[in-house]
Amino acid sequence: MAEAPASVQTPLSRRGIERLDLMLLCAEALDLNGGEAMVWLSEEMGFTDLFPNRVELWKRRCSNPLRRNTRRASLKPEETDALIRILTALSERLYPMLRTLLSSAEPAELNAQRWDLFRSRLRELVLERLNPRRGGVQRLLDPEQGPALSRELVQAMALCAGEGGFERLRASLLDAAV
């Protein structure tokens, strides 16, 4: 696995961490074993020094300000880089599903059912783990804005799948605040 260039050591903004954790949550909504897959990939990719066990990995994800039990400790760039690498590897594994959801060649009715299933799983995870009083969470749960936001997240996962997606996603998560 290629190492990230040492020159880029900018930490992610709060918005970047929010988006990274939401995409990891989408991976869990797409794959019922997504949480286990994250732990397994973390070990497989050699991140045991950064995340020695699943609790440490979980604690890093709780830096997301939208979480119910958010942690104020900021993440180091090497920790966010490792989480981005785990996400790109997960997206690569889930790519056939991501592609099917995004494809216009699939039967419309069947794809609508797939989207409904994905959104209902994502909704359950969001209600369980995120703070419903936050505007970002309310937009995600909103019946009008939610579908477009979840499609954006799925499209972002498809565009960052694989090793080639690492730098693209990291650059996107480091975007200036608007």
Partner: protein, 198 residues
């Protein structure tokens, strides 16, 4: 000895052909000189081209995907470039301009899945260690605030400054309505009588 490398995703197939550049000390399994490529895209067409066409494809599609990932789709590819890509009404429009005279440009409509297939094929190409071709890929950098401005609706973007200016104007008007305090009547200071003796 001609070498062939394939990169495949569901709707995109890219086959690169070339030769090792033995004069540069490359081994026999490395492509150092690209002789041509063929690409099957979205089940619609089979494209052929040379290195400059592949370079133009990379220069347009990779930054397009970068902007799309940040939620700000933007057209890429100059008017005289062989490849241009822009957001369409539904999906993405890839325009391929032939270098042959009197050949009209070919416009392909890609959906989100076909675009990500193409991006993945190009990612595999640019990261492949079996290719010793210095493709010029634009650096993948964070976008500046001015590039992201239209991601937020105008109303939400201007809500805070408008509310600030309105609050200032209202408080200034209220303060202006208060009567000006009259100066207090001045009384002559009384001098203490001089001390006697001493």
């Amino acid at each position: 000895m001609k070498l062939t490398t394939r990169y495949e995703q569901t709707s995109c197939r890219l086959i690169v052909e070339g030769l090792p550049d033995l004069s540069a000390g490359q081994d026999a399994s490395t492509i150092g000189i690209l002789t041509g490529f063929t690409m099957g895209l979205a089940g619609q067409t089979e494209l052929e081209g040379k290195r400059e066409h592949l370079q133009a494809l990379l220069s347009a599609v990779i930054p397009y995907a970068r902007h799309l990932l940040s939620g700000v789709p933007k057209a890429f590819g100059a008017a005289d470039a062989p490849v241009a890509i822009a957001p369409g009404e539904t999906g993405h429009q890839l325009e391929l301009r032939s270098s042959q005279p009197n050949t009209p440009p070919l416009t392909l409509r890609l959906d989100d899945a076909e675009l990500s297939d193409l991006v993945r094929c190009l990612d595999q190409l640019r990261l492949d260690s079996r290719l010793a071709l210095p493709f010029e890929a634009p650096p993948l950098l964070p976008l500046a605030r001015k590039e992201l401005r239209h991601r937020q609706p105008l109303l939400r973007r201007i809500a805070a400054p408008v509310a600030g200016v309105a609050a200032l104007a209202i408080s200034a008007a209220l303060i202006a309505m208060l009567p000006t305090p009259k100066p207090a009547a001045q009384t002559a200071p009384e001098l203490a009588p001089p001390a006697k003796g001493g």
